[in-house]
Symmetry: C2
Subunit: 213 residues, 2 copies
DNA sequence: TAGATTGTTAATCGATTAACAATC
DNA sequence: TAGATTGTTAATCGATTAACAATC
């Protein structure tokens, strides 16, 4: 099968939300039209996206909700537990440690690390916070491939280099810094200012269309 | 001028990061090639994007760094202060209150609100946290148009309806819930599971290309 | 059976990239 | 002046949407 387009991939978690909600109400089958209505999308787009996950529906009936959930989770890799480390136990890092949504998607933050000793575990959080020195041992012990980066921008590249050396292969970069990695490592930027820019411009465009009336 | 494509708009904040970094080193002019190198993009794409902001460069010389920063910030609306409220003072909400990046982009979180009285201001944070009852007064007093939504998914729609009634015109939705708003209100979803899905699949694709060797 | 919904093939739309003339 | 870089116009690429046959 051909590789899924990035926009399609980004929609899959939204489908999952809708499906899980339908499932909790006891609905067994769902049509592309049903999902489209919930998400303000076109049914044809949902059908196209579903095809990438390998699921097949039944004409007239629709898709089996349980099977569809399984297919999407399998496709993304959310049926297997992924252990991860988090670097930078500031306020954003701490918020992510406590985020319940990760457990639902089988992302398990095994431990967090911080240069600042004051941020080390006080037992209030369920995720332990260790000094940076313990990072290599934990990564090796749990065979961790994923790192969440919530350090200040100035420290991002240095920490990235460490992570790469330890064999980390996927970095979720929440810092605004642009980090460089070798080709066998993937990076996903999660930049808040991107979303803010879109919101600001859309708000502005709203004013303009109103003024034109 | 025609409306900017969404992908171009999302790149503007990244350009800003690069430009501010160059400016701090005292660089006066910058070429599209310079920016492209920093961000792993093609120069032609930067030139196209810049055109949308209205800036003009000088052949052979490049763009004036200061003028370009101003043009981008003007275009996004980041030269004017935008007052905002934040609803839901949980760990994510608190992290956003403390996020320094917002001040740089002139987003000013005037106050946060929470149903839970225990989360009300203890003076440790610079952003006050009030009970929901005070929301209408604060929104009116500061003529607030932007709301940041960090409540649990189950409460998202109810809070959204309140916000819309109070005249809020832009909602930055950090909850995983799909919220419905009238056409004169813009919503920007900021869904972490989207980024996680992309990261997981990219990591998986990495394995596959390696195995093919 | 008749009608609704899927999945496929083709058409459209929009963003990226290429080519190149203009110019400092 | 010569060379580098911009901005514009055209070509390519990829995603969305439309049309429709297949089918439960």
């Amino acid at each position: 099968m051909s590789r899924i387009p990035l926009p399609s991939l980004k929609r899959l978690p939204r489908y999952l939300n809708v499906l899980e909600s339908f499932q909790s109400y006891g609905t067994d089958t769902i049509s592309a039209t049903d999902i489209a209505e919930e998400l303000d999308l076109k049914p044809i787009q949902i059908r196209k996206d579903m095809a990438f996950t390998g699921i097949v529906g039944k004409p007239k009936v629709g898709y089996d909700v349980g099977a569809l959930i399984k297919a999407i989770r399998d496709f993304i890799g959310w049926n297997d537990i992924s252990p991860a480390v988090l670097i930078g136990a500031g306020s954003l890092g701490t918020a992510l440690m406590r985020y319940e949504g990760f457990a639902k998607r089988n992302l398990n933050i095994v431990a967090a690390f911080d240069k600042d000793q004051n941020r080390n575990s006080d037992g209030r959080s369920s995720t332990p916070v260790y000094p940076m020195e313990r990072l290599p041992a934990i990564v090796a012990e749990h065979e961790i491939e994923i790192a969440i980066l919530t350090v200040p921008p100035a420290a991002a590249q240095e920490v990235t280099d460490q992570l790469v050396k330890l064999g980390i292969r996927a970095i979720w970069n929440f810092s605004s810094a642009e980090i460089q990695v070798p080709p066998h490592v993937v990076v996903r930027r999660e930049d808040l200012s991107e979303g803010l820019a879109v919101l600001c411009v859309q708000l502005h465009e709203l004013d303009e269309t109103r003024e034109k009336k």
